[in-house]
Structure formats: C-alpha cells, structure tokens
C-alpha cells in the first residue's frame, strides 16, 4: 500500500468514524413528512408520568396527526436542562412551569403569550373552573404565560404511635395554635413528642436535651427565599408579607420583625432540644428521618401525601397551626407553558388546552398524586386519597377561609434571592447571628438586585 492510498484510507476511516460517532449521539425529533407532528412535553415529577402518559394517549387518539413525546427529568436537573435547550433553540414545545423560574424566561421572551390563542376561540376555556384564582399567577397585564396545571398547600405529618404515646389525639393536632413568643400549643405538642434517651419527654423537668432519642419536630432550613415548607407559613400567619406586590415585586420586606421572630423561634426549638441542631441535622429528606423514627412530626406538601398510600394508618395528617393572624398556608400553582421558539405552536396550543381541560385533569385527579387545577378534578384527587385511607381534606381547609392561603413570591432574580435568604436563615440556625441582623443585611442585598 503506497502512502497516498494509506492517506486516503486513513482519512476516510477517521471521517467515517467521526460521522458515525456524532450520528449515534444525536437524538431524533421533529415532524415527519406526512403531516405527522410530534410535540415535546417536559415534566419533572416521575409520580405524575403515568397520568400524563394516559392524557397523551387519549389526546393522540382524538388527534391522530399529533403525537406527544413526554420527557421526565428530575427537579435538580430540570431547569438547567431546560435553559440549555432553550439556548440551543431546541427547547420542548410545552413544559411544566414553576413560579420560581418563569420570570427569567419571561424576561428572556421565551414563553409564548397564550391570550391570542384563547381569543381565537373565546368561551372554550372556562376560567371559573380553576381553584382559587390559579390562572392569575401566570397573567401579567393582558399577557398570559401559561394555563393552570395543578396546585399544592402544606400540612403537618405526625407519627401516629408517637402521638398516641404523647397523649395527643388527631383532634388536638388539628387545632394547634402558634405564636413566636412561647410557641403556643404547637410548641407544647412538639415538647410532648420529644423524648430523651432516658424516656423523659420534652416538657418534663428531667428532660436531658443533650441526649435526645426522638425529636418532636424536624424543621426545614434549606427552604430558599419562600419558606414554603415551614417558616413562610408561620411568618405569614404572624403578619409577614414578602414584597410590595406579587407577582413581580421589586421591594422586599425580609427585614420584617414578624419574620425575624419566626426564625428565632425555629432556632430556639433546636436550643431546647425539641429539634435537631442544624449542624447535626440529617442531610437526607425529613420524610426519611420521620420514617426512621428519629423525628415525630414535620411539615409535608400535599404533593407528597401519596408516598404514604401503603401505610396510611401509621401517620396522622393535620393542617398547619393557627398563628396570631389565622391559619395560613403557602399555595403554589404550576402551569403548562409554550415555547416561543417552537415549530408547531398551533398543535402545542391544542395540547396545552387539552392539559388544562377537565378531560385530562380528571384523569390526573383520579390517580390522587396531585391536586389538579380544575376544582372538580381536585375533588376526585381527594376522593382517590380517601379510598386508600389518606385524609387530604386538611390541605383544602385553608381554601375555605379568607386569606387562608398566600401565593409564594414570584420575582425576577429568583435564584439569587433564594440563595441570599437561605444563607441568612441558615446562619441563624447555626447560631452565628440573630435573625434580625442576618435578615436586615440579606434584605438590603436582595433589594440591591432591583436597583
């Protein structure tokens, strides 16, 4: 073989290899030549996947020329993946959107305004069918950045045996009160649920807080700027407001004494031995620690209740305690958003409209996994949970009372605000500083982001 042939052969081999390698890595997507359209749909919750696959199958049956391809990515990678896909002009046609992240996409003009599509066929969508104004979360002026998908609130989960041993009935737990000064009957219940290694309970003078066997409460310290899992709810029931307006506030009130008192109370809970100190708190989920029996009570989102469908008798579910300003829970809504750079927007709209319709929401509701945005589908979800012995009514209790729910804040710079406030609150949990000092500094940093 002479040099020239060798050169050619090698060159071809290298080229062929490279082409084969790149070909094997790239995915396949897009429309076929015969008018068939594939709509990409992204969501993060694996528990919801079967329900939405059912919706997709039903939808394709009714619209044979549109196929829905669902991609599920875990929450921790979801937003990074979505952002990089958008940067590559290859984002999914429709994705499940969250209030913490959508302002950034709005600012970058990546989400399609749905109002023109709605106006094409006025009356086809009934906005009164959704729970508690959920549709308004996604509305900025006349622009609508998504249709409601589902919603959630927060409650308490208590180990049933631990509660019985502490002499607490389900009724006691459903009627707890709280204030930041002495913690109210909520703190008394936590004290009773706490046991040291010698068997003394937290309200016993002989209680040894350095040798705790079971903690009465497991607080969430890594809770961003919203405190959705505990402090946001307690602080709100103590008169705290996050910002001058919501959505899209620009002036924040994290230096409010109502919030500082709440955080100090949480830190004090650890000092009394009723909750683990932050520096020796498990890095695993609070629900894992609860299951292991080292904690007796913690807060839980309504979206997690079905984790207990096989052991409904082991736990009591209760609403959050009533604070000085009443009983309040954060309400969070999700939506389905359309990619502004998509190739098949009309078909994507058909899919979004179907997702927001009772037809799909009832299918999702019947699984009980989440509370769909349509009121009737939510009721179906509650019924599905009741069938396996789980009391979901406690998550709906807030909706009946005026200002029983508050929207978690929606703002630009969400990622940074989240880290700044979480750092400040953790520094209180670590007893490095008091809440008022930490939050005043942090609030100044947050407000500086908007100048």
């Amino acid at each position: 073989m002479n040099t020239k042939t060798l050169t050619k052969t090698l060159g071809l081999a290298v080229l062929g290899g490279l082409i084969a390698a790149t070909g094997a890595c790239s995915g396949s997507a897009g429309a076929g030549s015969d008018g068939q359209v594939t709509i990409q749909y992204w969501l993060w919750d694996d528990a919801q996947l079967p329900a939405y696959q059912q919706c997709a199958d039903d939808f394709t049956q009714a619209n044979p020329d549109i196929t829905i391809q669902i991609t599920q990515t875990a929450w921790t990678q979801y937003w990074t993946n979505l952002a990089t896909q958008i940067a590559a002009n290859a984002a999914p046609d429709v994705w499940v959107d969250h209030v913490s992240y959508y302002p950034q996409f709005v600012a970058d003009k990546q989400i399609e305004d749905l109002q023109p599509y709605i106006d094409q066929d006025p009356g086809s969508l009934d906005f009164d069918q959704y729970v508690s104004n959920l549709a308004e979360l996604w509305q900025v002026g006349d622009i609508r950045y998504g249709l409601p998908k589902d919603w959630d609130t927060i409650g308490l989960i208590v180990n049933r045996q631990a509660a019985a041993d502490a002499g607490l009935t389900a009724d006691d737990l459903a009627n707890l009160t709280w204030n930041p000064t002495d913690g109210g009957s909520f703190e008394q219940a936590i004290a009773k649920l706490t046991i040291d290694q010698a068997g003394h309970r937290g309200d016993d003078p002989d209680f040894d807080k350095s040798k705790v066997a079971v903690y009465g409460f497991l607080p969430e310290w890594a809770d961003g700027s919203q405190g959705q899992n505990l402090w946001g709810n307690l602080a709100s029931s103590n008169g705290f407001t996050y910002a001058d307006q919501n959505p899209f506030g620009t002036q924040f009130y994290y230096d409010s004494p109502a919030l500082a008192a709440t955080i100090d109370w949480m830190a004090e809970l650890s000092n009394k031995g009723y909750a683990p100190q932050l520096d020796v708190q498990s890095s695993l989920s609070r629900l894992d620690v609860l299951k292991a029996g080292s904690g007796a009570m913690t807060s839980i989102g309504s979206f997690n209740q079905m984790l207990y469908q096989d052991t409904p008798d082991d736990y009591i579910f209760a609403p959050l305690p009533t604070g000085p300003q009443g009983r309040m829970s954060a309400i969070n809504g999700l939506s389905n958003a359309m990619y502004a750079g998509g190739q098949h927007k009309d078909q994507a709209w058909q899919w979004i409209e179907y997702l927001a319709s009772p037809a799909c929401q009832d299918v999702v509701g019947d699984t009980g996994v989440i509370f769909p945005a349509v009121q009737e589908a939510s009721d179906r979800s509650v019924a599905a949970r009741a069938e396996v012995g789980l009391d979901a009514a406690i998550f709906l209790a807030y909706l009946d009372q005026p200002s029983g729910t508050f929207l978690i804040p929606i703002a630009e710079h969400g990622g940074e605000i989240s880290q700044i406030i979480q750092d400040a609150i953790q520094s209180v949990g670590l007893h490095q500083t008091d809440a008022q000092t930490a939050l005043t500094t942090a609030n100044a940093r947050v407000n500086a982001l908007f100048n």
């Binding site: 050169t7 952002a83 990546q110 932050l278 520096d279 020796v280 890095s283 710079h413 949990g429």
Partner: protein, 320 residues
C-alpha cells in the same frame, strides 16, 4: 475531578525526558519523504479536531463572554471589564476561593503523603498485583457514587458512622452539616477516592529508580528511612512534581462531591469556586459573570502551576 486521564501520557514524558543528553545525537537515519507530514496530520487529526472543537473554541468563546452580560438565553452585550471589577468586589467569590484553597491544601496534602507512604510500602515490601489492583478500586467508583455512599455513611442522624459513635456515647457529629467540618469531610472523601491512583503513579516512578542504588546503599548500612529520604525522594522528584501539579489542578476543579453532598452549605461553608461558577451560570443565568470567574481561575491555576514546577525543578533529574 476531571483532567485525570491526561496525566497518563504526561507521566512517561516526565520519566523519559531526564535520561539526559546522549553523547552525540545520531544523525536522523530517515530520509525526508514527501507525504509523511500528511500521514502524521491524519494520525493526529482526531485529537486536533477534538482539541479545537472541545477546548480551543469554548475557551475563546468563554473569554468573549467574560466581557459581556450574556445570560445563556438572549443577547450578549459587551460590558468591558465590568464583570472583572464585580468579581473582585464580590465577597462570595473571595469566600469561594478561600474555601477551595482550604479544600486543595487538605486534599492534596493528605492525598500525597498517604500515596507516598503506600507507594513506598508497595515498592519495598510487596509487589503483589492483587494489592495494587485493590488500591485502585475507590478510584474506579464514579465520583457521584462515592459522594452518595459517604453522604449516607456519615449522615448526622441515620448514618452508620454516627450510630457507631453513638454506641460509644460520642457524637453525633455533623460531618457534612457542621460549617467547620464540612470542607474537611469533602476533602477526605476525595482523598479516599484518589490516594490509590496517586500511589500507583508514584509507584511507577519508583520502579524507574535503579535497584542497585538501594543495594549499594544497604551494603553501606543505610536504613529504610535513609533509603527513602536520600534515594527514593530525590530521584522521584520529577514524578512527584508531576503528580502534585496534576493533583492540584484536579483538586481545584472539585465540584461533583460538593454538588452531591453539601450543595455548598451550610450557608457558604463548602461553596467551592466551581460550584459558585455553576450557580452563577445555570441557577442565576449570569453566564458572562461565570465565564469571568472561570478565566480568573485559569490565571490563578497557571501561576500556581508555573511556581510549583519551578520550585520542584520538575524538568531536571538526578538520575542523569
């Protein structure tokens, strides 16, 4: 830690180079032939293309972004040196650098000392292949898995280690959650993962030292410590320098263990520079600012590598 694969080629360079000047380089026997250059080009084309596409182009683009307000999505506007000025004023940036430096010192220090000890033991006591392979096992486990395994083992409440401590009436210790222990735990986890690999590199270096040196020294009555300090260590210097430089660069790139175990917390106690760059780029969508910090890190690493190589005189050897 990325960049480890690169060390394999480099280590042989480090060894073959110091063989010293031959008396007179023989004239090249090959006559110059047309076409050799082209064949050679084809042989290195894959790596050259890879280098251009995956290193050169991203580096140039990253450098450009560091002068813009690019947000990953949308337009990039030129902002001059604003990002650099912001980085120098950003206390989170300096905190990340400090945390990373703590990590590097703890990690490279403990890792190198242990690896040297293990390599010497392998070299002087046993040459068992099984033992050598066993040492590599932790290095073969993916880093995310290493992180998860240790996260569970060392968990403050449910971890095996703390249960063990508890049975001895000690603890609990928040290995990952205590702000003053967090970065040390992360360092030692990676020391556990990489010591075996480093030991193997050093062991390979030790094998290059002529055995007769040890024999004659032993005849002269030198003990093991003397053999180590007077023969092994000085003659190992070029390899040691290389291992140190590669460990140092790899160590600065700590990301995965932190991302899996502590996510930078509590507060910012383990927010190493790569994690902070990642947050700026993909959580806050400040890609321009993230690129700036990456460029600053490149500068720091370049200076450190240069200083280190000079101090250890890596290109000279006493084996000549």
């Amino acid at each position: 830690m990325t960049g480890w694969g690169k060390s394999r080629g480099a280590i042989t360079d480090g060894l073959s180079q110091p063989v010293g000047p031959a008396p007179r380089p023989p004239r090249p026997l090959r006559r110059h032939r047309r076409g050799d250059g082209r064949v050679a080009l084809i042989f290195i084309a894959p790596i050259l293309v890879g280098f251009a596409v995956f290193y050169l182009y991203p580096t140039v683009r990253g450098l450009w972004w560091s002068f813009t307000d690019f947000s990953l999505i949308g337009q990039a506007n030129f902002v001059g040196l604003d990002n650099y000025a912001a980085a120098l004023r950003d206390f989170e940036f300096w905190n990340s650098m400090r945390v990373t430096l703590c990590y590097v010192i703890l990690n490279v220090g403990s890792q190198t000392v242990l690896a040297l000890l293990l390599a010497t033991l392998m070299h002087r006591l046993t040459r068992s292949v099984i033992l050598r392979t066993t040492l590599l096992l932790p290095w073969l486990v993916p880093n995310v898995t290493v992180g998860l395994v240790w996260l569970w083992l060392l968990d403050a409440d449910l971890g095996f280690v703390n249960r063990l401590l508890g049975s001895m009436d000690l603890g609990p210790v928040g290995f990952f959650t205590n702000p003053s222990l967090g970065i040390m735990t992360v360092s030692l986890v990676n020391t556990w993962a990489y010591t075996g690999y480093n030991a193997l590199l050093l062991y390979a270096g030790m094998l290059q030292i002529p055995p007769d040196l040890y024999e004659s020294a032993a005849i002269d009555g030198a003990g093991e410590w003397k053999l180590f300090s007077r023969i092994t260590l000085p003659l190992l210097r070029p390899v040691l320098a290389l291992v140190l430089v590669v460990s140092l660069i790899g160590s600065f790139q700590i990301f995965d263990t932190v991302a899996v175990t502590t996510k930078g917390g509590p507060v910012n106690a383990t927010r190493v520079i790569y994690y902070y760059i990642y947050q700026q780029a993909f959580t806050y969508f400040h890609l321009g600012y993230a690129a700036t910090m990456a460029i600053l890190l490149v500068l720091v690493l370049g200076v450190l590598t240069f200083v280190q190589l000079r101090l250890l005189r890596a290109s000279e050897s006493q084996l000549a």
